[in-house]
């Protein structure tokens, strides 16, 4: 990993919103593909040792991606995404909800907004995730914390983040 790449992550729990900014050392067209083409998304979206598997994807407004996150025990957690807005190589929005294996969504879900911009050959991506329910935000975590070693940053780091705002 290139440590010079910007990574900014903030959670506004009161507004139920997560803000993420990340730079990638690749041209915009490629980064856009990595976020919008199922065969590429599946290669990175599931934190190892989990894997992602897309059953089908129709990348157009009103179209959907139906996929599962699978843990090392083979347990599948299905979810469905509906694309609500697409501006090629600039922005796309979607509504994400957990689902059962027959595509029945479990509401409420979350609203995702992705923006892409070129920065002289590197690409900056802004992601905003709005969750209708806080419990849901915490449920997402529960799914991923399994098998992942969590590190607790020291207090100084947090204070620095807080006081820089």
């Amino acid at each position: 990993m290139n440590n010079n790449l910007l990574f900014d992550f903030t959670v506004d729990k009161a507004a139920k919103t997560v803000y993420i900014t990340r730079e990638f050392d690749a041209e915009l067209a490629l980064v856009w593909d990595a976020f919008t083409k199922a065969e590429l998304i599946d290669q990175w979206i599931a934190p190892k040792p989990m894997i992602a598997k897309t059953k089908y994807q129709d990348f157009k407004v009103g179209g959907k991606r139906f996929y599962a996150m699978i843990n090392p025990e083979g347990q599948e957690r299905w979810a469905i995404q509906e694309y609500t807005s697409i501006t090629p190589k600039t922005n796309f929005k979607m509504y994400n909800a957990f689902a059962d294996k027959d595509e029945n969504p479990e509401l409420p879900g979350s609203e995702w907004d992705h923006s892409f911009s070129d920065q002289n050959g590197t690409t900056k991506v802004h992601i905003t995730i709005y969750n209708e329910s806080l419990e849901r935000m915490e449920r997402i975590l529960d799914g991923f914390t399994q098998g992942m070693k969590m590190s607790l940053n020291n207090l100084e780091n947090l204070l620095q983040t807080l006081s820089n705002k």
């Binding site: 290139n2 690749a26 705002k165």
Partner: protein, 106 residues
């Protein structure tokens, strides 16, 4: 009513108060000296921070000193870090995918 700790730290003045008293315990007057605001307003912020147990009060003689409840703040830190860690892992994986594709193209 117990207040939501995340709502408490969503306010910039309260975050500044936290950063200030992290260094040393302070009286409300000493804290207020650092802000262009009224003593009442600082008291209100301190009350909210106390209600969600982010700060604690201690009587010393005639003065009340406010200090940081570090254990409580670490809870926030831990919660945030779990999310951050998840995205960090994902993006590192994406870096690998991108660099593999770039090599294939050459």
């Amino acid at each position: 009513m117990r207040r939501d700790i995340f709502q408490a730290i969503a306010d910039p003045t309260r975050r500044a108060i936290i950063a200030l008293i992290a260094l040393q315990a302070m009286t409300p007057n000493a804290i207020a000296d650092n802000f262009h605001t009224t003593r009442q307003s600082v008291s209100k912020h301190l009350r909210i921070l106390t209600e969600c147990e982010l700060v604690k009060q201690e009587q010393q003689g005639r003065e009340i000193y406010y200090s940081l409840e570090i254990k409580k703040l670490k809870e926030v830190d831990k919660w945030l870090n779990q999310f951050r860690k998840l995205w960090e892992t994902r993006f590192n994986q994406l870096d690998d995918v991108l660099s593999t594709i770039k090599k294939q193209k050459k």
